[in-house]
C-alpha cells in the first residue's frame, strides 16, 4: 500500500482532531495553569499545625491584647482580642503588622564597643569602668522610654546604688502625669494638636467612645484629626494660650473670634469636658474643673514619677544609657547631646542600628517585640491600674539581651528580668485586689495564687485593678510641653512650615500599602501647600521643589491642597519653622 503525503496530512489532522476529544489537552491546560501558579518565582506558604496564641502588644504604651494565628508556632496574622479591657478589641495598623518588624532592615545583631564587635563581658567591663570613672558632679542617667514597667524598677534600683543616678524619660512620655482620662464619661474634648483620632491612647478605646464626645481640634495644620473633628480651629503655634483665654472669655459671655466662640458654645452644651495638649490645655482644664471628676482626669494608683530629660542640667551626664524600643519614635540627638559632659559615654540598648545607635559608644542589641518576654503596665490615659505580659512568640536571634537583663548583669545580680517580673506578679497577689481577665475566653476572675496568675498571663491575660480611680480635688498639669511659637515670616523665609501627620519611625514592609501603593497617607517626600500660595511661589501641582529652612534643605513633591492654611506648607516629620520654597 502506498503512503502518500496526503495520507500523512490526513493522519495528522485526524489525530489532532481526535486528541481534542480526549481529556489530554484539557488536562494539560489545567496542569500548566497549576504549574504557572506554583512556579519557582511564586513563594509557597508553609503548611503546618495551626494554633492560636495570645499576647499583649508592647509597640506603644496602649497595651492592646493580641490574638496571634500561628502556623508551626510562627505568627502569620495578628488581630485584637474582643473584650480586652485596655485595647477594646482593636489593633492599629502598626500593631497588625507587629510580627513583620524583624524583617525591617538595619537590625542590630552584634554588640559594638566604639565601633568594634565586642563580647558581652567586655561590653559590661567597659560600661562598668565608665560608671566608676564618674566624678562627684557627674551623673549616670538612664533614658527610659516607658516608665512604670518592672524594667523601670530595675533601672531605679541600679541608679539608687550610685551617687548621682538620674532616671529620666523623653519629653512627653508621661503626657498625663499621675492621671488617667475618664473618656467613657467625657462629652467634649479640646485637643491642642494631639492626634486624637490618629494614634492617641488605644485606637479601640478612643473610637469606641467617639460617638459620645464632641471633638474640637486646635492646630494650624490640616491633620487627619482636624479633618474629622466636629470643629477645627486653625491656630498658629504659640497662640494656643491666647485661644484658650478667648474661649474662657466667650464662656463668660465676652467677645471672642468665631472659632473661640463656637468652642465655648460646644463646651457649655457638652459637659464634662477636658482639654489636652500643653499649657493652653491646663488653662482650660482649670476653668472647666476637669481634674478629679467623672468625665475628666482621675488619679490612678501606680504612677511612677520620672525626671523629664529636659530638666536634666546641660553637660551633667557622664554615662547615658538609652533604651530604644521596637517602635520608639526617633529621639532628637541634638537635645540629648546638650546633656552630655565632655568625656561622656553613650550606651544604646536597642534593636536598631539606624537610630540612637549611630551616636553610641556601646551598642547592646536588644530583642524586638514578640522575641522575648516583655510587659505592658498601665497604659497612658487609663484611670485603672493594670498589668499584663507579652510572652515571646518568636525565637530571638543569638547575642541579644534585654535592657533589663543587661542592668541586672551590670549589678552582678543572679536574678533575671523574668524573676523580677514574677516579683511584680507576687505583689499583685499580695495586694489582693483586682481581677484577671483572660483573653481566650474573655472572662474575669478574682486573683488566686501567684502560679495561677503567672500561668494565665503567659497564656494571655491582664490584671485589672478593681480599686479604680478615686476623685481627687487638686489641679495638676496634664501636659507641660511648652508650645514652640510660630516664627515670623521674613523676606528670605516667607512661608511657615507646619508639621503634618508623621509616618512611624520604622515602617514594616507592608506599610507600603498605606504610604506608597495607595497614597492614603502623606509620605515624607511630599509637601502640601494651598494652591493660591503655591501659584504665588511659582509652583504647579505635582512639581518638584526645594524647601529651605534656617536649618536644612529638602527636596519634595508639591501637592496642592486647598485645606492647607494660606502662607504655610505642610510636611510630615518636620518641626514648625520659617521656610521658603522654590521650584526645581
Amino acid at each position: 500500500m502506498e503512503f502518500t503525503r496526503r495520507d500523512l496530512l490526513k493522519f495528522t489532522g485526524g489525530s489532532a482532531a481526535g486528541l481534542m476529544l480526549t481529556p489530554a489537552p484539557w488536562g494539560l491546560l489545567r496542569d500548566s495553569a497549576l504549574v504557572s501558579e506554583t512556579w519557582p518565582g511564586v513563594p509557597r506558604p508553609a503548611g503546618g499545625e495551626i494554633s492560636i496564641r495570645y499576647t499583649t502588644c508592647t509597640l506603644c504604651p496602649a497595651g492592646c491584647g493580641v490574638r496571634a494565628r500561628c502556623v508551626n508556632n510562627q505568627p502569620v496574622s495578628l488581630a485584637g482580642v474582643p473584650g480586652q479591657p485596655t485595647g477594646a478589641g482593636a489593633l492599629c495598623p502598626i500593631g497588625l503588622l507587629g510580627h513583620h518588624f524583624r524583617f525591617c532592615g538595619n537590625r542590630a545583631h552584634a554588640r559594638l564597643a566604639n565601633g568594634r564587635v565586642a563580647s558581652l563581658e567586655s561590653a559590661l567591663a567597659g560600661v562598668s569602668a565608665a560608671i566608676r570613672s564618674c566624678g562627684p558632679r557627674e551623673s549616670v542617667a538612664i533614658l527610659d522610654p516607658q516608665p512604670g514597667r518592672v524594667a523601670s524598677l530595675i533601672y531605679r534600683r541600679f541608679l539608687a546604688g550610685l551617687p548621682n543616678g538620674i532616671h529620666c524619660t523623653p519629653s512627653g512620655s508621661q503626657p498625663f502625669g499621675p492621671f488617667g482620662i475618664d473618656l467613657e464619661n467625657t462629652r467634649a474634648v479640646v485637643s491642642f494638636g494631639v492626634p486624637v483620632l490618629d494614634g492617641w491612647l488605644s485606637p479601640g478605646r478612643v473610637l469606641a467612645n467617639r460617638g459620645h464626645f464632641q471633638l474640637i481640634q486646635v492646630e494650624a495644620a490640616y491633620s487627619r484629626t482636624a479633618s474629622l473633628a466636629d470643629l477645627w480651629a486653625p491656630v498658629l503655634p504659640g497662640n494656643e494660650r491666647d485661644f484658650a483665654d478667648a474661649v474662657i472669655r466667650a464662656m463668660h459671655g465676652g467677645a471672642a473670634d468665631p472659632s473661640a466662640a463656637k468652642t465655648a458654645a460646644i463646651l457649655l452644651r457638652n459637659g464634662p469636658a477636658i482639654a489636652i495638649g500643653g499649657p493652653a490645655a491646663d488653662k482650660l482644664n482649670a476653668e472647666l474643673g476637669s481634674f478629679g471628676r467623672s468625665g475628666g482626669f482621675l488619679p490612678r494608683r501606680d504612677y511612677m514619677a520620672v525626671t523629664d530629660i529636659a530638666q536634666v542640667p546641660d553637660g551633667a551626664v557622664r554615662v547615658l544609657f538609652i533604651e530604644e524600643r521596637t517602635n520608639s519614635q526617633d529621639i532628637a540627638w541634638d537635645d540629648l547631646r546638650r546633656k552630655l559632659g565632655p568625656d561622656a559615654v553613650v550606651v544604646a540598648l536597642t534593636p536598631w542600628l539606624d537610630g540612637i545607635a549611630r551616636h553610641a559608644d556601646y551598642v547592646i542589641p536588644a530583642p524586638m517585640y514578640l522575641e522575648s518576654l516583655d510587659e505592658a503596665p498601665t497604659p497612658d490615659g487609663s484611670t485603672v491600674a493594670s498589668f499584663s505580659l507579652s510572652p515571646a512568640l518568636l525565637a530571638a536571634p543569638a547575642n541579644l539581651i534585654s535592657p533589663a537583663d543587661f542592668f541586672l548583669r551590670v549589678q552582678h545580680s543572679n536574678s533575671t528580668y523574668s524573676d523580677v517580673i514574677k516579683g511584680r506578679v507576687a505583689a499583685i497577689k499580695k495586694d489582693g485586689g483586682g481581677v484577671i481577665h483572660t483573653y481566650a475566653d474573655g472572662k474575669s476572675a478574682a486573683v488566686r495564687d501567684v502560679a495561677d496568675i503567672w500561668k494565665n498571663m503567659l497564656a494571655g491575660a491582664i490584671w485589672m485593678d478593681t480599686a479604680g480611680a478615686r476623685p481627687m480635688g487638686t489641679r495638676r498639669t496634664a501636659e507641660s510641653q511648652a508650645a514652640r511659637p510660630a516664627p515670623t515670616p521674613t523676606t528670605e523665609f516667607p512661608l511657615l512650615l507646619l508639621a503634618a501627620d508623621s509616618p512611624p519611625a520604622r515602617g514594616t514592609p507592608l506599610m507600603s500599602k498605606l504610604y506608597r501603593e495607595s497614597g492614603l497617607r502623606q509620605s515624607t517626600g511630599a509637601a502640601a501647600i494651598n494652591p493660591k500660595t503655591g501659584r504665588d511661589q511659582g509652583l504647579q501641582d505635582g512639581c518638584r521643589a526645594t524647601i529651605k529652612t534656617p536649618d536644612a534643605t529638602v527636596t519634595v513633591q508639591v501637592v496642592f491642597d486647598p485645606a492647607v492654611m494660606p502662607g504655610a506648607v505642610q510636611m510630615a516629620g518636620q518641626a514648625c519653622s520659617a521656610a521658603s520654597i522654590r521650584r526645581i
Binding site: 489545567r30 501558579e37 511564586v42 479633618s227 474629622l228 500599602k513
Partner: protein, 252 residues
C-alpha cells in the same frame, strides 16, 4: 434526602462617619491574602490593595475643609457583573451560593479587560513576581496561594475564611454558617467597627438591616449592577460626592 444549603448573599455595610482612614483594613487584608509589599517603584497606580481607602474632601477651601475616608473594595456586583461579562477566559464568576465574585488566577491570561470594565477600579494587576523580604515568606497565610506575575486579582471577601468556616461547620455537622462565623479580615480589623459584614439575604442580620437604613447608599448605583457593598453617612456632602464624583486634576 440531602438538606439543601441555604443560599447566601454576602455583603458589607461601611459607616463612613466612623471611618478615620487609619488603614488597618488595608494592612489586615494584605496580611490575610498574601499581598506582597511591592518594589520601590510601585505607585498608587501599580500598587496592589484589594481594599483601598480614599480620602475625599468637601471641596471647601481653608478653613472650611472637611474630609471623609471611603474604603473601596470589589463591590461584588450581583447583576450584569461587568468583569464577568468581559473576561474571555471565564476567569471571573459569581458564586450562586454566596454571591461572591470570584477571580481565578489560574485561568487569567492578564488581558486586563476586567480592570477596564470595573467601574470601581477595584481590580489590580500583578506587574511583578510576588516577593517578600528574605525570611518573611514564613509569615504567609497557608490558606491563600500567592498570585503570579501577569494576572489580575481583587477582593474575594477572604474566600479562604469562608472555606475554613464551612469546614468548622461541617465538623460540627452543620451545613449552614452561623452569623459572625465568617468575617473578612478588614471587618475584623477595623478599630472603629465601621465595617459590618453578613448575609444580605437574612432579613434579621445586622448588615441587612443597615443596608435598609435611610442613610445607606451604594456607589454608582445608577449603573444597575447591584453592588453588595453599602455605605452609610449622615453627611450630605459625602453622599453627593459618591453620587457625582468631582473631576480630579489629571483625570479630566
Amino acid at each position: 434526602m440531602a438538606t439543601k444549603t441555604k443560599t447566601a448573599r454576602y455583603g458589607m455595610s461601611i459607616d463612613l462617619d466612623r471611618c478615620t482612614g487609619c488603614g488597618a483594613c488595608m494592612v489586615a487584608c494584605a496580611v490575610e491574602n498574601n499581598v506582597p509589599p511591592l518594589p520601590a517603584q510601585a505607585t498608587p497606580r501599580t500598587g496592589i490593595t484589594w481594599m483601598r481607602v480614599y480620602e475625599i474632601s468637601n471641596g471647601q477651601a481653608f478653613p472650611d475643609s472637611r474630609a471623609a475616608f471611603v474604603p473601596i473594595l470589589c463591590q461584588q456586583c450581583g447583576k450584569e457583573t461587568p468583569c464577568v461579562a468581559v473576561c474571555p477566559q471565564e476567569a471571573v464568576q459569581v458564586d450562586p451560593a454566596t454571591g461572591i465574585v470570584d477571580q481565578m488566577p489560574q485561568r487569567c491570561l492578564g488581558c486586563r479587560y476586567c480592570m477596564t470594565a470595573c467601574p470601581y477600579h477595584a481590580r489590580y494587576f500583578n506587574w511583578w513576581d510576588p516577593r517578600w523580604p528574605p525570611g518573611m515568606e514564613t509569615t504567609l497565610n497557608p490558606d491563600v496561594a500567592p498570585r503570579m506575575r501577569g494576572v489580575v486579582e481583587k477582593c474575594n471577601f477572604c474566600h479562604a475564611r469562608l472555606h475554613s468556616a464551612r469546614e468548622r461547620a461541617a465538623a460540627e455537622g452543620r451545613r449552614d454558617l452561623k452569623p459572625g462565623e465568617y468575617v473578612p479580615a478588614c471587618a475584623e480589623a477595623c478599630p472603629a467597627k465601621a465595617i459590618v459584614f453578613g448575609d444580605l439575604n437574612d432579613p434579621a442580620s445586622e448588615v441587612s438591616q443597615l443596608a435598609r437604613d435611610a442613610t445607606s447608599f451604594r456607589i454608582l448605583e445608577r449603573l444597575g449592577t447591584e453592588p453588595k457593598i453599602y455605605y452609610r453617612t449622615a453627611r450630605p456632602w459625602v453622599r453627593e460626592a459618591a453620587a457625582q464624583p468631582r473631576k480630579e486634576p489629571g483625570n479630566a
